[in-house]
Symmetry: C2
Subunit: 135 residues, 2 copies
């Protein structure tokens, strides 16, 4: 818990030091949009983030206004809206991913290879356990 909260705080400071006008949550929305790839409808991204579509609509609207995201109507299904990242968003996301890599490297440095594998196994185990639990 402590570790995670520390990471969140550091992540937020990094974002600020980049001089963006983004909150951490907003950066995570952008991250989810980029990670979504083809599955970039409002509902798919909302599900990915674990929020309602209403919440995401609000977030997308402000990020669109700030020039980080764009909406594009689907041709297949005219109810659907595809959310796209602008170059500006991609640039910020690169920095954000860079931070994650830096952090991961720190952990990699810390542990011998064998223990790293064990760590991954442990985390995957916990993840699937709780994924079932959360019903």
């Amino acid at each position: 818990m402590k570790v995670f909260n520390q990471i969140l705080r550091i992540e937020e400071n990094k974002l600020k030091s980049f001089g963006t006008d983004l909150s951490l949550k907003e950066a995570h929305v952008i991250e989810a949009v980029v990670a979504a790839g083809e599955k970039n409808t409002v509902s798919a991204i909302a599900a990915r983030l674990g929020v309602t579509t209403g919440s995401l609509t609000v977030a997308v609207t402000t990020l669109e206004r700030k020039g980080y995201l764009e909406r594009k109507k689907s041709q297949d299904d005219r109810r659907r809206i595809h959310v796209l990242a602008t170059p500006k968003a991609l640039k910020v996301n690169e920095m954000h991913i860079g931070f994650h890599e830096e952090m991961t490297n720190a952990v990699v440095q810390l542990l011998p290879r064998e223990q790293l594998e064990t760590l991954v196994t442990a985390l995957v185990g916990i993840n699937t356990y709780f994924a079932n639990e959360r019903e």
Copy 2:
């Protein structure tokens, strides 16, 4: 990251299922008050939670209204306010701690001894790494 967010969500659901009128944040304020022991001034607890004293004042006020916390003026230094948990808060906190233990036990059950040790090593390592990092 996924694991942690899952845990937070499960924790919130548990709280709701206990039928309390507390949000997760409020439960964490109570937790911090209890954990603070003697160092239970507004500023000490705010520091523990990583929020400003202004934020904590607001939280304490609503929790006082709900009957979970009490304020007591310090005799040594009349600027200081000690924040105390009521029996009601202690009861909720017991449940909250119980959940943490339950969760920890689940992880212990889940992972073989070797993986547990590696996990702890990794987390401690990350913790100290970031403790230094966050300047």
